[in-house]
Subunit: 408 residues, 4 copies
């Protein structure tokens, strides 16, 4: 099991760390202020556009592009293992992945276009997405059903003449409210009676502004609206798009969803390791700068034990991510479902606990926006639900492991 980065990725990592030092960390306050001052919470933060231009110029652009689709990036594509340390570094500042055009859900959506779209679709949507000119949403989760089992999806997609007609309700549609979002990939049921539960679904492209598409409200998680990207609840009320807006083909929606979600889960975990690592570093700085009852925190045995535990846990989380990445690179995500599930159900919870400790060492201020920790805590907590609650993945993983070792 070789977990070594390629020289190409190492070079990118060095450049990325330098960029973070020069352009990201020094701008954290300014970014927060600009976001705060926006009239519309989901408008463009001016600083973001400036930084995107700089990142593009520095060759730190579309780092997520996978090896198999290297033609879509300047760097020629990176393996999972190579991308992990880059995503970790970006995860140190919650909003920074967008600077490098590496933020969810656009990365996943771009991969969908690369893998499953027609040339015309790619030209219309992938090109501006890769360029960072527009943003996109992926509309899958529904409030009424346990969407972690994609076969439960109820939004109706019916053929009517040369159009698809969509009716249904979605929520947690990330990016839907952002000013720059132009295209929605919508999953729904086109053939609910199909005896194969995995052939009932279809995915279609719905441009923003199509009549009948209504944003009901922004959703929050633990008080965060995640502006300017955010999560929306939406209603599709007789939304009509031409038949050619289908992705891959009628009845192939489940197949797309399967392919799309595994990388997304790994990207979240990579970033969360970075969030935990930065929280640990903040806690170490705090430990030497704050005194209680006449002793710096750093000399309290309990603080040392918590720093020690956090360090160890982050090491383990990172190794788990890297091993899973390596296995995906070697054998593909469909043969690595065990390790992907192990990573997805372990890392967010572990990171939540690490950050909880680090926040606590910061006193009341640790819960505020003065540090990146509170928002990262929300991110970790959210990831225990995102792409399916942990319990669903544990159900599958548990079954798989029991089968493996019981000889069943």
């Amino acid at each position: 099991m070789d977990l070594t980065m390629s020289p190409k990725a190492q070079a990118l990592l060095a450049k990325l760390e330098q960029f973070m030092d020069e352009h990201i960390y020094p701008n954290e306050e300014a970014y927060a202020r600009q976001l705060h001052e926006l009239e519309n919470r989901f408008a463009i933060v001016p600083l973001m556009d400036e930084l995107k231009a700089k990142a593009k110029e520095a060759g730190l652009w579309n780092l997520f592009v996978p090896e198999d689709y290297g033609q879509y990036s300047e760097h020629g594509g990176l393996s999972f293992l190579d991308y992990a340390p880059l995503a970790e570094v970006m995860g140190r500042v919650t909003w920074s992945p967008e600077v490098f055009n590496c933020n969810a859900p656009d990365t996943g959506n771009m991969e969908v276009f690369m893998k499953y779209a027609t040339d015309a679709q790619r030209e219309q949507w992938l090109t501006p997405l890769l360029n960072g000119d527009i943003r996109s949403s992926y509309a899958m989760t529904e409030p009424q059903v346990a969407s972690s089992d994609a076969t439960n999806i109820e939004l109706r997609i019916e053929k009517d003449g040369d159009e698809w007609v969509l009716n249904g309700r979605k929520w947690f549609i990330t990016g839907a409210m952002n000013e720059r979002t132009k295209i929605f990939i919508v999953m729904g049921k086109s053939d609910p009676e199909n005896p194969s539960r995995h052939k009932q679904q279809t995915q279609v492209l719905v441009p923003k502004g199509t009549p009948g598409m209504n944003i009901i409200r922004p959703l929050t998680t633990l008080g965060y609206d995640d502006a300017p990207i955010g999560h929306a609840e939406m209603v599709f009320d007789n939304v009509r798009v031409p038949l050619e807006n289908v992705l891959l083909g009628e009845g192939r929606g489940f197949e797309i969803a399967q392919g799309r979600l595994a990388p997304g889960r790994m990207h979240h975990c990579m970033r969360l390791v970075g969030a935990a690592q930065r929280s640990l570093e903040l806690a170490c700085k705090r430990a030497v700068s704050r005194s209680t009852f006449g002793r710096p925190l750093s000399k309290h045995q309990s603080v040392r034990e918590e720093i020690s535990r956090s360090f160890s846990e982050i090491e383990m989380a990172r190794l788990l991510v890297l091993k899973t990445c390596r296995m995906i690179d070697e054998q593909g995500p469909m043969n690595t479902t065990d390790m992907i599930a192990a990573t997805k159900t372990t890392v967010p919870l572990l990171v939540q606990n690490v950050i909880d400790r680090c926040m606590q060492m910061h006193g009341a201020g640790g819960l505020t926006e003065d540090y990146m920790m509170a928002e990262a805590f929300n991110y970790a907590r959210w990831c225990r639900q995102a792409d399916g609650p942990d319990q669903v993945h544990q159900m599958a993983l548990g079954k798989q492991i029991i089968d493996r070792y019981s000889g069943a």
Copy 2:
């Protein structure tokens, strides 16, 4: 150890539960909407005033008033043990304590006025507070120092002629931004050279609008601004008030702080038990109404184990609160520091974990404002810092227990 409520309190509890059923739970959505629609996040929510009038009429007003100061309430005062189940019920809806004039920090501030103020101070501030006409703030915590050790407080209070002059910075000043807040109790250092570290502090009354008092910004915890009450960061820049605005006397600020905080800690824990209990009930409802992979959640053994664990933990938390209350009633808070510390360092964390589980059973929606859980989670998390981080109380409690059993 008799943990039985008095008949008077039982009658109030029955009335309160009926009031919650009739007026509070049915208004949760309306309250959220009205709050959301306020131009100023810290203005008055119209529904609140309507409900306050109804609660007053129903005789459910100022329930917090303690036995020793029974004259300040219609019900004649309640023991800690009697108040605990009432506060628990109010804790089921985060914003409901205000309906009954039982919300922090006003309850603590009113107690300060009852115990330590002059008649004139009482007439001017306590009367309208008891009436719910104004609100108040308690300005103690400072960003630069570990304020859990009150002797660290740095805000300077100097005598200049017939005035006190205040200079310094405070944060987490709850209620400071609310439109109705009219009076601040401010703790500072008037005699920093006094050889007794507990006589260096003084508390003075500062009416809102006094020149030099500036609100810097609202603070958030885990993304919540806790509007319309909220927490502010403030600067006191040569703020001048007359000498008679001193509370209790020069150099007696520490004494007031000691007396004020113990009840506050207990009130938080009482409410948190209610928040956990309601979360458990929501989880039970969810368990029967939601199915995954063809079985209702209620039939999954893991769900039953988590419900079972949560029930047991809530029982224990409630009993710990009640026993501590009973002991405070019998021997006073100064002789119950062990049990108060045990409660304060146990209940919020326990409740945070219970709510975390209950949220998880609700899928992604569990983290939104569609339920009371996410905000209650923030409340529990915040209480691990409020009135001093748990670790500081554990330091004192650990020492006390070691001394007790080691014969040291």
Copy 3:
């Protein structure tokens, strides 16, 4: 909820504590040595008989006898609530309950005789048991089946003329190997085809030495053989006893088991609270007597936090036990299954964790027999399995709570 002990029980508690101080704690080393020197691990420890005589003389005998059967004791019977603090004190020394004729499984067996036996059975077996002259075993658990569901029991009890014939295998038969054990209460299936799954079982009395009854081996848990009481695996091979040896009646075995187990579970939890409390006290003594890196353990913040946490947890465990006892006293065990399950699934695990921490503070020695902790740790761990694994009780409790709050 009044958790106050009766004056009678308070007087017994004071006497018991004095007895522990004078006769039990000073003899812990001597008892261990005598046990160690026994040729037969399951013989009588001489010191035990001396102490039993003293306890009887002091009026500290058969303290477990419940209120409804007060005629069987000098003290006239105690409620659950009254017995709990006495059992807690006995739990401080693992072997001490026997000194007061209050040890498992004899207490449960004596209750069975009180409730369900004929006068002749009582005279033959209950009288010497109450006198401490003989000991008894309860043979229910079987290795092949999940015995927590008593309907799974497979040992065959068949009528043949005027005799019952027993065939089957049992394990974890506590006390079976002890020299003084004279009588076995054996549960088996007499009517496996009965459509009511709760009428298939019968319990019969089998005197020691009945041909066909074979002890296969002593069992250990975590390395402990629990000598001189111990747990045996046994085979019943055509064991014959007269028909009058039936308890209560054919087909009523399940009913007896139900009635017997609830008190047993509570007694374990009472004793475990005492074991945890004593471990905490040992840890406090250790904290002041041991230094590492130049500071006594008592000054390490981490030690204070662990002492603080342990104190708080023990308080909660004790309160949960007491409330459950009070409810059993008021409404009977069959109406208190929720709280009994909550106690049984919470206290042993909590105590295991408390003791784990206290052992750790003692360094390597904490794991040896130099302290009572290691054996108490085993006792707590074992209680998570005894009388049914926690998970089975959580299944029932979870279902009950979900039903209660979901209105299902």
Copy 4:
């Protein structure tokens, strides 16, 4: 970070796994029975000698020998990274490392002889140790002092003419009672007034049977005596050995201890990963073979979640061990203290928890000697104390990490 085993180690691993399948697993019951039947608990188990002969013949001998001392083994030495998977496999059966001459404390002692002994000392002791003809002990820990800080050691070593004279008390002297143990490496204080606290200690060789060396008693941990190896408490009463029995040189005892302990800690962790892995496999087998309430355990969601969690945790523990090994190989143990401490303070606790869950799934039988789990649980628990309590290592690691990230 390349975690790939060398081809040589891979070949050994394949051979070792085959040997386990053919000779170890099929003999677990026989070994237990032979050990049980020994008159002297610390005598030689006949099966062990048979298996040692077979292992030697199979070329599976002295696998622990490190790369730098390859001349002492047939295989020519293995790196830490190469040895880890081998030790993991041996850890699946608690007593099996001795079969391959890879058991503690002999491995550590042999390394001491390789690194620090004179040729004469090597010839006398190392040669028969490498051959498996004798066994050895390492006498460091003392009951009166916190021996994790080696400078606390109090056993007195004084020069008297041409002899060293030893006086003091030791405990947890692993192997001391074993019939085959012939040599003790004893650490003591030869120069207590030396201003350098790390030059006060000396280590000397004391052959078994030297007058004045008395074994006081065997020690148990959680009820286990770890026979036939075991842990002894010993008194050294004017024990005299010639001056040439010094190791490395007077005043260099601390240096030896430092060098000896790091590999030992890693070896424990490697084996514990194997113990956890085997427990998981047993739990999976149990899950399909046992039913409760009409469903096999494998279909209970709670069982799947616990299997899933255990799998994930074992993966992380294994990766942490491997990374630390790799770093030791690259930069030496003295430059890897952070990762060694992280491993030592994480893996045993994690493994204890994994085994606890797996035992619980086995019902009451899970705690007996019918499975390897209970004893492995004790091993994991013990390792949280062995080579220093976790807290001491966390103190050092916490300090190191705080320094690293605070720039202090």
